[in-house]
Symmetry: C2
Subunit: 295 residues, 2 copies
């Protein structure tokens, strides 16, 4: 039997995944409005599935910091959709033939395979754009700035560039950490921070949650690398080994699989100890869940 | 000899082009900072030249509405850079092989020809991103919303999609107006509106300037189409006739060149009459200038 807290966090994740999916449907432009093809491509990629980890983290941080959930549309809702739209935009552009050239994503054809390259470029651009519109609708310019910084050349885009440049090269642990922290970690950290900012968290809480976000962000990507080596194809819904085929800079490649496991676990423990030892909270459970994920 | 006011507007444009260029240099990420290649590509495309029409319109509208220019960095400055960065991002993605497949832009190789497709996609994304960061730095969430709406699927991206879908098809005047209004007009209108909003313009002024922006935006693109048919290659710095070779939906193609001229002139006159007959202002001169442009 699963321990009670694991069951609880799974229920929490399922509930919030449902909330997020409903938000995404609400905020996506309608498919029966022009430009229909572009709107269809956006919806296709956003609704292809996914863990909705970034919106869930934003929500959990918002809740943890005492953000109001009384309104019909709490201020964190558009931010949650914005974070997932940005994530999807990055996947669509990453999958393009001139980038990673992937045909499948979450078990179905990638956006450019389904709609053609031109539409895929524009669909990514449009999701990027609508994310900022939603983030601005929170009324907090700092939330827009946080997002822009996290996914700009200091963050996600810089990580994607470094990732491309590192292909086929032997990289050190520091190199991989540097790539992962920017490519994946920055947006995960931003998700936690934006949730906290929208709840009007004080500086001390913000600092603690930033450290938490940074650690789980890096751990998340290390585990992603590990799963690409020894994950279960059926659970993952995609082929394993693609990093290796593409000669990607991965954490196991740099330090070996044992050390990769150990480092990921250490980061998860550190993320959990950002909070008081006896404090029970969802963010701790979320960190543990990320540490144990199998897909 | 040129009439005095033409000389004046040329001086004004030269001065503001200089101001804008200096702002762009200031706000672009440094080329000696990582990711260097990406930063080089961004700078290459932004500094390849251009009329800087959108930032100049934002400035002129801001000035017209009484926005303060006393500060070392007036609040319209980051918005001016944001508008030009967005314009450049749209050109970079538009030039990609899967879109218009252009090798030359402003007389030099396009971004993907110079840096490769992957870097060009990311450079466009990064300029898109930094534009929102700058717009958010004005502290006015509405400025971010205006930009996002103007360049989203209702605006610029919708226009690009319609433009692609119209290739090779016989289009009506209404079709072309619909494409041009979104693809080019929306961002030009937005530039004027953002300048006015940042100057805290009242609703009446904002409505007047919106109408002005809408009319010059459409006129600008009609004249662009005309110049592609009968412009001077040397003045333009690019080959004419590319719209026709690509079977693009153009205004002259839909209505003939004479009617195109007449409609553009009518729009320019209407833009000018948005203001009082005896009022002297730069926006009127700018409209007239756009109506007479040869490149």
């Amino acid at each position: 039997m699963m321990p009670a807290e694991t069951t609880d966090i799974k229920l929490y994740l399922d509930k919030l995944k449902g909330v997020t999916d409903a938000l995404l449907v609400r905020y996506l432009p309608r498919e029966d409005e022009e430009p229909q093809l572009l709107h269809r491509a956006m919806r296709y990629s956003v609704m292809a599935g996914g863990k909705r980890l970034r919106p869930i983290l934003a929500y959990a941080a918002y809740e943890y910091c005492g953000g109001s959930l009384q309104e019909e549309t709490p201020v964190v809702y558009p931010a949650m959709a914005a974070l997932e739209f940005v994530h999807t935009y990055s996947l669509i552009h990453d999958d393009l033939p001139c980038m990673d050239d992937d045909d499948l994503r979450r078990g179905i054809p990638t956006c450019h395979k389904k709609f053609g390259e031109a539409v895929a470029v524009l669909a990514g651009d449009a999701l990027h754009d609508i994310a900022f519109e939603l983030m601005a609708s929170t009324g907090l310019p700092q939330a827009v700035t946080e997002l822009a910084t996290a996914i700009g050349t200091e963050g996600m885009l810089g990580g994607q560039m470094a990732d491309i440049e590192a292909e086929g090269r032997k990289v050190s642990r520091e190199d991989v950490i540097n790539i992962h922290r920017r490519k994946t970690g920055a947006l995960i950290r931003c998700s936690v921070r934006v949730g906290a900012l929208l709840a009007d968290a004080d500086e001390a809480a913000l600092q603690r949650l930033s450290a938490y976000g940074e650690k789980i962000g890096l751990a998340f990507q290390i585990i992603d690398d590990i799963l690409d080596v020894e994950g279960d194809q059926e659970l993952m819904g995609k082929k394993v080994g693609s990093d290796s085929r593409k000669q990607k800079a991965t954490y196991p490649e740099a330090v070996g699989i044992e050390t990769a496991y150990a480092d990921a676990n250490k980061l998860i423990r550190e993320a959990i100890t950002v909070f008081d030892e006896y404090e029970d909270n969802v963010l701790k459970l979320l960190a543990a869940y990320i540490g144990q994920r199998k897909s």
